[in-house]
Every structure is written in C-alpha cells, then in structure tokens.
Symmetry: C2
Amino acid sequence: MNTIDINLIKTYLINLQNQICHEFETTDGKATFQHDSWQRLDGGGGDTRVITNGDVFEKGGVNFSHVHGEKLPISATTQRPELADCEFDALGVSIVMHADNPFVPTSHANIRFFQAKNPSGETIWWFGGGYDLTPYYGFKEDCKYWHQTAKNACDPFGKEVYASYKKWCDDYFYLKHRQEARGIGGLFFDDLNQWNFQTCFAFMQAIGNSYLKAYLPIVEKRKATPFTETHKIFQRIRRGRYVEFNLVYDRGTLFGLQSGGRTESILMSLPPEVIWQYDYAPEPDSDEAKLLTDFLPARDWLSA
Amino acid sequence: MNTIDINLIKTYLINLQNQICHEFETTDGKATFQHDSWQRLDGGGGDTRVITNGDVFEKGGVNFSHVHGEKLPISATTQRPELADCEFDALGVSIVMHADNPFVPTSHANIRFFQAKNPSGETIWWFGGGYDLTPYYGFKEDCKYWHQTAKNACDPFGKEVYASYKKWCDDYFYLKHRQEARGIGGLFFDDLNQWNFQTCFAFMQAIGNSYLKAYLPIVEKRKATPFTETHKIFQRIRRGRYVEFNLVYDRGTLFGLQSGGRTESILMSLPPEVIWQYDYAPEPDSDEAKLLTDFLPARDWLSA
C-alpha cells in the first residue's frame, strides 16, 4: 500500500463538518454555531462548533479534531499493548444534537481515523464510527426510517455489513448497570481495516454522508409537536441516562479526557439540563413506559 | 488477633444511619426519609434511605449496605491481584446531602469496613472513609469550622492523622480533566489497618460520629439565606462537576456498579437537577468566580 495521505481524510472531515453545521443552522432557523479553535499541548487540536438555545436545538455540537503525539494515552493501549510506544494520529468528526422538543430524538454520530507507527516504522491504521438515535418518545416509523437509511449506506459494502454493525451498536450503547440500551441503536464500527484503504475510507464517507439523511427528516417531522412540562421532565430524566453512558462507558470520552483533549469539546455531548430522581419509574402503559418496553430493547427494526 | 466480629461493626453502622436520618429529618422539618431494603443476588443487601423535596434538602441519601460474596469484582482487584479469588464482606454507610439553598454546601460522608479471606484462610481487613464538603458559594468561616471539626476527630489518634487524611482527600476528590477540586475537602482514608483492630474501629467511629457535628451547624447557619434563580443556575452548573467526579473517578461508585450493587442506591448520590452549559465561566470577581479562585484550590484552612 502507498503511504496514507491523512490530508485527504482531513479535508473530507472538515467539509463534512461545514456541511452539517450549515444544514443544522437552516433547520434551526434561529441559532448559529459558535466556533472555537483549540490547540493540544502535545500535538494537534480541533475546531469545536456548538449551537445552543435555538428554536429547534437546545444544545448540540459538531466537532472536528486532529490529535497527534509521540505516545498513546493509556485508554488506547490497555486493549492493545502492541501500541504502547507508538506515534499516533487520531482524527474525526463527532456530533451530538439535543433538541428542545422531547419528541425529537437526540442523535449522535462519529467518524474517525486512527493511525499509529511503531518504533520499527510499521504503520497500523483503522477507521471507526457510526451513528445512533436516542428518542424520548418512540415512533416506530422513525426507527424504521433511521435503520433503513443506515442499511442503505452499508449495503454497497456487503450484505452482512448493516446487520453486523447494527449489532455492534446495540452491544456498545448499553448501560450494564441499568440493563438498558441508551437508545434504539444504528451503526457502530471500529478497527475497520479488513478491506483495502480506499474501500474503508469510502465506507467512512458513506456513513458520514448518510447521517443527515437519516436524522434531519425525523427532526423536521417532530420539531413542531406540542409538548408539556411533563414531557420535558421525562426528557431530562432520560438525559441522565445519556450522561451515565457517556461518563461511565464511552471509550471516546475516556480517550479524550485521558489524552489531554479539550474538556469542553469532549463534554459538549452532555445534555443541557438533566434530572436524577431517585427510583423513578413511569406510569405503567404510559408513553413514557412504552419507550422502555417497546423501543429500547434491541430488535430488528426493518422487519418490525 | 481474635476473629473479627462483623456484627459489632454492623450494629454501629445501623445505629449511625438511624441517628443521622433522625437529625436530618429534624433539620428539614418537612420531608422524611423513604426506606428501601434491597437484596443482592450474589449475597448481602442494604437499606437505602432517601429524602427528597424537603424544606431544606432537595435530595439526599443515607445508605447502609453489607455486600458479601465468593469473589471480588474486578474494580477491587486490579490494584490488588492477591485478592482475586477471595471471599469478601464489604459494609458501610454512605451519605450525600444536596440542599435546595445554594448557600448550603453539599456534603458527602462514607465509612466502610472491608474483609477478604483468601483460599488458604488468611484474613485481610481494612477500614476506609471520610467526609468532604462541596460549597457553591464559599464562606471562609464554614471551611475553617468543617476542617477544625475533622481535625478534632482525628487528633486523639495521632497528631499527623488530620494532615495526612486531609491531603488524601484533596488528592482524591480532584477532577483531573478540569484541573479542579470537587470541593473544599475534609478527610479521606482507605486501607486503614496499621493500628490494631480496636483502634482502627474506634477511628472509624470517631469519623462517623463527627460528621453531623461538622455539617449540621453549617446547614443551620445558611439554610435561610435568600437566593435567586441566578444562584440556583450556578448551583446546577457546579452540580454537573459533582456528577462528572462520581461517574468518572469515584471508586465507590464504580465498585458498586460493577459488583452488582443496587444502581438506584449507588446513584442516589447524583444531584437532583444539573445543567451543562458549554464553556461556562463566571463573571470575573463575582462570588461565583471566587469559589474557583479562593475556595477550591487546596489549602490549609486552619491557618487561613
């Protein structure tokens, strides 16, 4: 294989960030993204874009970062001791959008590339990413649409790809201590290098390009749904689960915090307002209860 | 040494729990503690007591638990591989009190006993615990009083005890990713077995018995301070830091979640309402800014 041109990936990611921010601003109609460029002491930096208090989006971030250094942080090498003394490049775009309207689900997307060079000059690389949806009030048609769009993006790369990355997503975004999924899933992949570089890169782009296609129609459909304070309270309680997942389990968050990433950029994923009520349980058979019984348990949405 | 009578420790802890709940109910004047007994599938259980929406306390918990089992969870053995196949008993009382009034600090206290028996019958035991204070608006006299009470409890056990456990507390309750202390500290100790069992147990009791003495006068002094929505918002933002600490760093929380403890009992420590505002910074020279400049950085409060 020829040397990998990281700038090619970087250019794609920055263009994607611009396009996504532009589309979200159009959808919101009021708020715009605040831009914050930052440098990392040990190498690299990023461009954090955050939207707050919009007509549609209560809080959201679309972040680009490119972090590099002489030595990987611990969180990246416990599972892979062979990377312990490697130079590395990690670049990606990471998105979390929390809408104000409780009928609009929160969405998360991430695409990333990782490359490490060990002292003998050998290069190891892989892609990772995916997207997943976290509704507060479930709609079967939205779940089907979200997963169908994910499948359409995967299918050109092999008929088994969607099913396998859908399962990985269900397994990954799972709160063991609650025995509960974070949301209704989507796609998750990591360590992707089994195809050639061009195909892997094309797959990452297919995921990046299909995220807005999957999410925006759902936002548009639900953003004007009337809601009450009761709906908001349920949304804030559920957002507590989102915090629990990100701070206890999420590898990206832990990698970021440990590698000296910019804390405010990493934690932009945390919801704007959260409630922890002791031993909360929704009324049986309520819409709130149905989220837990009919939407969060992992299932095949395309035959649902 | 004679065999350790765990029931002696258990009786002390349960009495302490009762006394503390009683005192907090008296201070609150309106809300009472809800009791939830729970069993752990693999052995043991607990008695969770939670107070919510009181006149003084927005949310608080005073929990007793006694967990035992055939094999320790991973979080307890990574640092101590010699404990990997040990039977164990872990018992303790754990307290977190979040007041409604932003001028009343949050307090946390914990005392615990741990015992493990390895397959050859050898017994390893230690005590741990401490208490720490997390103000939103700082008052020098409260910090001095809190630390003086802690010192008074420690002094009979050696002149160096307070200083050493005060430093351990500062080191432990620290958010690396924020480069910020969680609060103004207090005491933290773990692995305590260097004195004989009776003395270690007496020390744990001295800490347990002095917690209310340290906290209640501060609650009484501040609970009627007038406050505005601006104060509440700052309190909720700071409570986000509390969540970050507990979910990212706190060993007790991770041990509890991994050992199949009751999730709602463990996470009762999380504040009732939390705000994450992107890149929030208080106005320079405001009372909010002073918390960060004049109170959180570790210092010797007794000569302040």
